[in-house]
Symmetry: C2
Subunit: 373 residues, 2 copies
């Protein structure tokens, strides 16, 4: 009944050696049997079901990294239960942090991962090797006509991907159907003029009873990708959409409501694991995150960890695009090109508007910057 195949999670534990080791033992129980150790019956449960400490190493003063392996069968081939085994109950205890996952072929083969990934998205957009450009329609409160006008100008100016601001859902001032219809139309018009393949990607983060319908409507109206905030609809809802062959659109993951997992140094999940590995398993083709030096607090090291997580080898699970945003001003792009290289999607929202009154010109300016690179 138990194959012997196991997957591993590396946790970072805080405490003196004895305390950290106690925490490691605690994970083995808490994430599996949730049962007093002394009462666990001998045999399969003790030998196979309880997590197993494979490695326990100091990484700095009072910080340890422990590798714990779990029987594949614990996850029942379910992404939801994989998340639960990795960090369900342990999320409620201070001083435990998920650093990275180590998933063998037998586990990875249960997931499809991103449909497009980096190479697929480049082909889809017809952009060979320069950094990609991404913007957001904002501010909330404009009407569909105004958003469509903005989308038209950004597409004319050479932006590759134009998304809804993540707070745009189905508000009275910009109803979903009308907004999607108009923005698709505007971007297609611009594409006919430029010969480019800019895409408009609506936000479909929505109540469960409307989520799939919105994705289908968007697809039917000609939208070429989807924005999803997985912490709001559930990571698995994103996976479900990404794996849906009828929809088959690129997925852009937005970090709204997800920050609490990464902000505390000693709790939660690492940037590498959450925005990289887990987001890939959940099927996103690009992960939006707040860049260092903008409005948010991630530092450069954390952003680089995300980039690593988006491309670390995971067999058939494709590499995805890091998409730094959150207050990127255009004058930082050249510096950021040096840091991120070409395999990046720069998300520039407010920065485009700060650049000057002519939105098309601002887009052309940034387009030239990345084209030179």
């Amino acid at each position: 009944m138990i194959s012997g195949e196991r997957f591993s999670v590396i946790y970072r534990l805080v405490g003196k050696e004895k305390e950290a080791y106690r925490k490691a033992r605690d994970i083995c129980l808490e994430q599996t049997v949730e049962f007093p150790e002394e009462l666990i019956p001998d045999g399969m449960i003790k030998d196979e079901i309880v997590g197993r400490i494979e490695n326990f190493l100091p990484v700095s003063n009072n910080v340890y990294e422990v590798t714990i392996s779990y029987a594949n069968e614990l996850t029942a081939n379910e992404f939801t239960q994989l998340i639960n085994v990795v960090f369900g109950n342990i999320s409620i205890k201070p001083g435990y942090r998920v650093e990275r996952l180590e998933l063998p072929h037998s586990m990875l083969s249960q997931f499809q991962g991103p449909r497009y990934g980096r190479a697929g998205l480049r082909e889809y957009l017809g952009v060979k090797d320069r950094p990609l450009l991404f913007t957001a329609l904002k501010p909330l409160g404009l009407n569909p006509e105004q958003f469509a006008d903005m989308a038209y100008k950004c597409a004319l100016g050479g932006i590759d991907i134009i998304k809804d601001d993540h707070g745009l859902t189905d508000q009275v001032f910009a109803p979903f159907n009308e907004r999607v219809y108009r923005c698709v139309e505007a971007v297609e018009k611009a594409n006919r003029e430029t010969g480019l393949r800019c895409i408009y990607v609506p936000n479909i983060t929505a109540p469960m009873d409307k989520l799939l319908a919105r994705a289908k409507t968007a697809k039917a109206m000609g939208a070429k990708g989807l924005v999803v905030s997985p912490a709001i609809v559930g990571l698995d809802a994103m996976r479900f959409l990404a794996n849906n062959d009828e929809i088959a659109l690129p997925i852009f993951s937005h970090p709204a409501f997800q920050g609490s997992y990464v902000l505390a140094k000693n709790n939660g999940i690492s940037h590498f694991a959450l925005f990289g590995q887990i987001t890939r398993l959940a099927g996103a083709d690009a992960i939006i995150y707040p860049n260092y030096g903008g409005r948010f607090s991630f530092n450069r090291e954390e952003c680089e960890a995300i980039v690593m997580g988006t491309s670390v080898a995971m067999e058939h699970i494709k590499s995805i695009f890091p998409s730094p945003g959150g207050g990127i001003s255009l004058d930082r792009i050249e510096k950021l090109l040096e840091v991120y290289g070409r395999e990046v999607i720069f998300l520039v929202g407010g920065g485009l508007f700060k650049q000057g009154n002519d939105l098309i010109e601002s887009c052309r300016f940034i387009n030239q910057l990345v084209n030179k690179y």
Copy 2:
């Protein structure tokens, strides 16, 4: 287009007065327009869409509480978008914490909340006014027959609610259908013998494509309630299930993967708001959380805040049961009765087994304790 109706969120901000006030202003923009303040056009967007500081008060040294109001229309009557407005992007910034929601009638009326609530669940279970008793089938690795035997004994011993351990989904060693079938049968058999109305509640936390099917299967097989981990399937998925009239079963919310929101004192969401107010809006009839003094780190004050959140006035949104668990040993029950009173569901898992070899006797022991009270 904008009604003028607004709802409010109280945030706790850390910093000196000037810094805290800057954070308050930042919330007003970040949670709505996400746009440079100086570029926001005059008129409706500036006047109505941008969040509004209604109150700003010091609560202790370098800690402030700010009340920010938002136009109802921002949420588009969607629970997902309400969550996003309350704590979407701000979740990614350190030093911002949601303390509580203040929702007017116009906002509350958009939500059904719990179907049963405290009074409804008491009626459903036929237990008038004593504290309720809850246990979990564990450890993972047992087979359906063993779980059913355990359920039978617990039901005979006077436990009111018997749930799957939250890690039980559809593993090969205890497949969902067989487990639910056998456990329902076992509890019904015990009920025929005792004349009581014990219920078995399976865990239906599952991938999106299986979630509803599992709930329906459980209902069809005679399960009388459902366990859901909302951080894993999405808070709104729980609301969806709770509001489904075809299912119409009590919902027990499990905190797996949810801990990161509450662990950091200065970030995230308060225990009161997350486990109380938000969980009620999401339709749970009881909220499971780790009790103080057990295996987890919540302190008594935090647990009392949860209790307050489960019953604070929210118009037609019913009060729900706090369900402390996570390492409650039977010798603490008497003390906990003094703290929690009668309006509580004690979740006792491993503690029952630690009590002695005779599970029925252990259940009777705790049943007598709460019946005396």
